[in-house]
Amino acid sequence: MSISEQDLARVAELARIRVDDATVADVTRRIRDILAMIDQMQAVDTDHVLPMANPLDATQRLRDDEVTETDQRERFLAIAPATEEGLYLVPRVIE
């Protein structure tokens, strides 16, 4: 499988990363090389192998639904790029 510059543009949009027109060819070429290396995987038959998500095959631990965190709203807001009256500010979304 090879990746085109159009594919790269779509992936960059999905990843929310601006890729300049000037660098798109170079970025695509690098990623194509990496995907070619990754394609070594396709030589192995894995039809009857179960995918492994956790190296210890552990499953999600559950706990009781109880409060474990304290309110630190002021500290968390203090490190944000822009806040106002206890809210995070972002550019206008709805005109």
């Binding site: 499988m1 990746i3 594919d7 790269l8 992936v11 960059a12 949009e13 999905l14 990843a15 929310r16 990363i17 601006r18 890729v19 970025v27 690098r30 990623i31 090389d33 990496i34 995907l35 290396m37 990754i38 394609d39 070594q40 995987m41 396709q42 192995v44 894995t46 192998v49 179960l50 995918p51 492994m52 998500a53 956790n54 190296p55 210890l56 552990a58 999600q60 631990r61 706990r63 630190q72 500290r75 968390f76 203090a78 490190i79 944000a80 790029p81 822009a82 995070y88 972002v90 550019p91 206008r92 979304v93």
Partner: protein, 484 residues
Amino acid sequence: MHDLSLHAIRDALARREFSAAEITAHFLARIERLNPTLNAYITVDPEAALAAARRADAQRARGEGGPLCGVPIAHKDIFCTDGMRTTCGSRMLDNFVPPYDAAVVERLAAAGCVTLGKTNMDEFAMGSSNETSYYGPVRNPWDTGRVPGGSSGGSAAAVAARLTPVATATDTGGSIRQPAALCGLTGLKPTYGRVSRHGMIAFASSLDQGGPMARSAADAALLLNHMAGFDTRDSTSIDAPVPDYCAGLDADLHGLRIGLPREYFDAALEPGTERAVRAGLAELERLGARLQEISLPHAPLSVPAYYVIAPAECSTNLSRYDGVRYGYRCADPADLQDMYARSRAEAFGDEVKRRILVGTYALSAGYYDAYYRKAQKIRRLIAEDFRAAFREVDVIASPASPSPAFRFGEKSADPITMYLEDIYTIAANLAGVPALSMPGGLVDGLPVGIQLIGNHLQEARLLNVAHRFQQATDWHLRRPAGIA
């Protein structure tokens, strides 16, 4: 004072031979003198360190204080430190001051450790040379024209240059072991889940694991004693008792079965490195171990599988950097989408962006089965190779990296050349098994690392083998030339 081991510093502090304030001031002075050359630390806060040291001294005077009361330490800048800037080597977090401590930082502070500062690293731990750091590359104390390895290159250079007795580090595909090898140190990646990931900035969550970087196996064992343990805040933390890793260090090696995977003595291994590793293995044989060749047939697929799984998980984890709640935000965004896309384009470096793009592609509709699911299946084959091997042998030994420290720029032009730096280390992360690198010799004046891999939760056995080796050899006592 800076040549003392962690054990020796702990004991000298207990005997009041010097105070925590004195030894902290000593290391801070060395950092001030040598860090401009080495660039091992990103952030040092001398006043905070001295204040913590004085508190430790006061605690000791009252007969209080933890087992490592007053011992200086450095933390990789991937571990959140409450009130102290934590950058993860990225412009994205250049201004990030965490509102909480990582579990590892919390545990070591509870044990009494004094934080000297935060060590440099490849951006978001993605790299094997420390050349991707936004804060510039770290220089290897053994030869300042060469890389220290990565991603924990700052921790490795700081320990090797005696700018701290020990340091914390993390390993997703070799990021503790490869810099330990290139800087002549003992670095251990524990079993996945042995050390809490709470507050450790996430790269690839099914692979990431914190561990100790030290000059000897005995010091690594002591540090691990105070890092490991169950933590409900990490959903993949192992709920198993933590042994005293120092207790079994001296155990005899007679009858120990060591497997040498033929796939790890391949064409990529430089002849000088192979000679040094084989000489080290012969020493283990003299100590009573029995060497036998084994096979990990799927090991050659670990790099391709890793470069699907790690980027996929990184693309997910790093989606949190959106310029809203913390971290970098671009100037004058036109709209919300522009803010996301431009903040991320401006604040992530090339390698981080590349991996996010590869991961996004591998997880996107139509490609998921061919890439991500396929890689997860190969991951199981690799894990099963280890399971089979550990029915025949107790420990697996190999080179930690294909060559000693390389020059700046030598491998950074081509990402895949850099990825192959981790060919011997990645499989242990995929299988979740513990592995360490210990100094095994010198080639042209540069350290060579021997990797020891154990079965799940066999950290104590690996440290025992490394310690016995270090009782019989002096490679771990060699010091970088020019670092007085």
